[in-house]
Symmetry: C2
Subunit: 606 residues, 2 copies
């Protein structure tokens, strides 16, 4: 099993560890310390050795922040984790704050006094983040000070060893381009941007660029590493040598100079001393990196990670691989859905059992490298929590006449999938059918959108909501995120949300996952992945338009649809989609599943 359902939190240990941290801070003359969840790479997942926030506070969510002062401490989380943080932390030790209502910098500012010294680990905070905290400190006459050694690491007995996942070469027939080709384009882009070098700190950027994969963190097949691109010189790759076999090292050495991560700092200093103009992404790059370049005399040029956009725009090989992965995954999901429909009404299933079953169906493809994130498996009221993570303690049974929602994905060598299906066990209520149909209408509105070159995800996001808005409803998350190819299931810069300012380009992959959540009752989400299609004029039209190709193939529960609520064009889309699911997935499954699939994908009545 790639997923663990254990609750790794140790809330009881929190107060003692906090007291030891405070002793340490006092010994170093610090009045406070910032504790982010992030590691040096600012990724969604961190290795065990970097789970400082969880070790210190007990909170194990994927996004959080703590501030520790001598006489106060607080943990900051977003709306996904307001319940979880209360269960996982000790309220006598930590105030629990909503990160939007009470941002950490403001909480800190309200408690700062002139002359106070607040420490932070400059490898764990981005340039932009440190700027915000520096401003808050300066306004109160306090100072924000980078520390040379993280005081948590100093007191963390039994800290796990660093992740040393073996690095594998990613076949170039799947990657579609060699590292040398990718590097040549990037070097040209850097030259055009007038910079001498660029620092890469995102593991998925580095994995994509050098056609390697790793296993240092959960679910994202990336090696933790840094890289420096240079115009007129080979790139430098900073990676723990113990992760490289001789063969991999030899291959990488063809295109890069390989060094230990500890050599990053001297390399940055060398760049600075040469007066280089060095590009870094202030929202992704550690503060220490910018500081080191500037201190040595270099010029920091802030801009987007130059790999983000080339990685987001998939090439023909990546698209072909992704299509294959989705057919394979769709067959596994279809077998699972049949099993679920037949098994759930008999009783005895709980959320963990169902998540385990789905992983088993995926594993039976023989190609599953990992799941692409922890499966969200929610029955009844749990389905109303968009980011619910089932644990042994929370796992609820699937009951008759309740909704069950499962959001999951697979990592295959040729592609990454992400799919959500919501099904009814037994009979739905009229309200469930109404809500499901509105969510489906929004999902179809995005799936069928045509849009001019230059259109952003922010412009498409409202299309997913209009049918809900008409009924006084909405959902509180974006409509979609970017997806990698055997890389991160969440990647930027493309996204369909209010914050999606990047124009969508042909070859980008995005999720399309509107939802509806009724607190304490039920939740709905329907998710397919979409590929942005090339900009071509529509017949009779005037402008080059993009559209979407749906990549995900699995039945959508027709029992939850109220056909009379769907526009004729939307009904046609659903019937055509289901016909395609039957045609593509039917040949990939056993006869019994195929018979079930034919019924599940029959045209809508009504």
């Amino acid at each position: 099993m790639f997923q663990s359902f254990d609750d790794a939190s140790e809330p009881a240990a929190g107060p003692g560890r906090l007291a030891r941290l405070r002793e340490r801070l006092a010994a170093e003359g610090l009045d406070g310390f910032l504790v982010p969840r992030a590691d040096e790479h600012q990724g969604e997942y961190v290795p065990k050795a970097a789970e400082r926030l969880a070790w210190l506070t007990g909170f194990t969510g994927s996004a959080g922040f703590a501030v520790v002062l001598a006489d106060a401490a607080a943990v900051f989380v977003d709306g996904r984790y307001t319940l979880q943080v209360r269960e996982q932390t000790d309220e006598r030790a930590y105030a629990r704050c909503h990160v939007v209502e009470t941002p950490p910098a403001r909480w800190l500012a309200e408690r700062l006094k002139g002359g106070m010294r607040i420490g932070y680990d400059p490898m764990l905070h981005t340039v932009a983040q440190v700027r915000r905290f520096e401003k808050a400190c300066a306004e109160k006459g306090a100072t924000l000070e980078p520390v040379a050694e993280n005081p948590i690491d100093a007191i963390w007995d039994g800290r796990p060893a660093p992740a040393l996942g073996t690095v594998r070469l990613h076949p170039s027939e799947l990657a579609g381009a060699s590292p040398a080709e990718k590097l040549a384009k990037l070097e040209a882009a850097l030259g055009k941007a007038g910079v001498d070098a660029a620092v890469l700190t995102q593991p998925d950027s580095i994995a994509w660029l050098f056609n390697v994969r790793g296993s240092d963190v959960a679910h994202n097949p990336v090696p933790l590493a840094f890289a420096v691109l240079r115009t007129g010189a080979p790139p430098q790759l900073f990676i723990d040598g113990r992760k490289l076999s001789n063969a991999v090292r030899a291959e990488l050495s063809e295109v890069a100079e390989i060094a230990e991560p500890a050599k990053l700092a001297p390399a940055l200093e060398a760049l600075g001393q040469g007066g280089a103009r060095v590009l870094l992404d202030p929202d992704l790059t550690a503060d220490a990196i910018g500081r080191r370049i500037a201190a040595a005399g270099g010029v920091v040029v802030e801009g987007q990670d130059p790999v983000l956009l080339p990685k987001a725009v998939k090439n023909a090989a990546e698209i072909a691989g992704t299509r294959r992965a989705h057919l394979r995954d769709g067959a596994a999901v279809t077998r699972f859905l049949r099993w679920l429909e037949e098994t759930a009404p008999r009783g005895g299933l709980d959320e963990i059992a169902v998540a385990e079953a789905l992983e088993r169906f995926r594993a039976e493809t023989g190609a599953l490298k990992d799941i692409s994130f922890d499966t969200i498996s929610g029955a009844g009221a749990h389905a109303a929590l968009p980011h619910y993570r089932v644990t042994r303690a929370s796992s609820a049974p699937l009951r008759m006449n309740e909704i069950y929602l499962i959001d999951s994905g697979g990592q295959y060598e040729d592609g990454t999938t992400d799919i959500t299906r919501t099904v009814i066990v037994g009979q739905p209520t009229a309200e469930m059918r109404d809500r499901f149909t509105r969510v489906l209408a929004g999902m179809i509105a995005v799936s069928t959108a045509r849009f001019p070159v230059g259109t952003t995800g922010a412009q498409l996001d409202p299309l997913a909501r209009v049918a809900l808005w008409k009924a006084g409803l909405d959902f509180d998350h974006g409509t979609g995120h970017g997806v990698g190819v055997y890389l991160s299931v969440h990647e930027g810069p493309q996204r369909i949300s209010k914050l999606g300012t990047t124009p969508l380009e042909a070859g980008m992959i995005l999720s399309n996952e509107p939802g509806y959540y009724k607190e304490g009752a039920f939740g709905i989400r329907i998710e397919n992945l979409l590929l942005v299609t090339p900009a071509e004029p529509i017949e009779g039209g005037e402008r080059p338009m993009h559209g979407f190709e749906t990549l995900t193939f699995a039945p959508i529960d027709r029992r939850l649809i109220e056909p009379s609520q769907l526009a004729p064009a939307d009904r046609s889309w659903l019937d055509a989609y289901h016909a395609k699911v039957a045609a593509l997935i039917g040949p990939l499954v056993d006869e019994e599943t195929r018979a079930w699939l034919m019924a599940a994908t029959a045209p809508l009545g009504g």
Copy 2:
């Protein structure tokens, strides 16, 4: 007539005036000078005495910019004016640039050399604008220098006298609140924002705040003036005393200290010397104002003009007045549309004659104070120019089987209107009907939108485009702008466009005007004004939702609609809208017009 159809441009005078300006610059040791179209108030209209750009270059459009150097000069315009600028300026004197493709600051930077001194009039450029030019100059080692006297004014023989439009009191039963009430709320808001004062430079902000109207510029009934709001002291109003009758002066003196505009500078210095924190809007306020405050020791706090939002959110009296104005205007437009339908097919009408006729119908209401902007009256291919302004030279005849588009509005004491109707003279082609129906579908999608509290105009803008996008079509302007009440027909911050980042609030008025333009052939735009309705939960819904009330009542040409292309709900909306037009406007027009109106608003067939 409030509209002039004369072409006031003098292209032939351009080169001579440019030569004299260059002499003057040389005498003052300047290597260049920036010439904006704006006056001190950054409004859409400027008084004749401020038409420096038009005097110098010949270009009379409502937005433009010139940069003059010793050996080069250029005029910068947006897409609306690329044709006009070529006709109105002398190409031997001026390069003509598209302001987006070649921004003035970039054009200038490409020609700057170290040590050059570029002058600008600091009362004519905003704080934000100067910042951009300073950056461009600094990068080339040149300096941007404010001038004490505008060199154009120094060489402008026969410069018109300053505008001295008489100021009138705006009745408080129409304004819905007294200046004292408005000032009390603003003072509280300034205190909460932690500032001691705020500078107002927008004439419509000042007119709204003090319940006055004026006539210094065309079509916007505002007096040119400045004001300074102060916490704990009465506001200062800087206005030419010759515009004030004794009665108006007495009324204004009750709430403000009145002084000549020349006293603004000393007042800013006094604020600065007192160390005051002074709010100003960097996108609207003259650079000179911020400089003066800072130079005297004050703290400039940048933020939105504090009047913008209170003015945009209309109170009950303003809404009631606006509804009355729209019924009155709708009756005039309906009489006009009947006249047009009966007269145009006989031949002999041209664009000017039609615009004159509409103004006549509006004048016959007995309540017309002005038109709210120069009527856009476009026949055939001219309708494809979204901002076409008809002149004696351009006025085209209305021909059979061609489209005619008219975008116009009235200023009444109780409200400001803005309406576009597109009609066919004779028979439309299938293409015209297809395009018209798609534009109408977009217009209806916005009219019927329900949206959660916090939704911005940017989120609604795509709804107006989806039907066009499906056919590979689009339009290159925003969907809607804010509208004042007997004030500017274009006001912020509310707007329905990609740039509309302000959440829509109950009481805001916006236009809803999608279009389609086929270059050289025909153009379509359909425009109603909308009022944002209060946030109330929809029955069975969960969230407080806004919606729109349509304020504009006049028939939409059914001959241009292809009913089979409209969704049933959209057809119902149109029929219900037309029934309401008939019910509300029918009683306000003569019997013959009423008979025509009943036919024009009959339910759609097909």
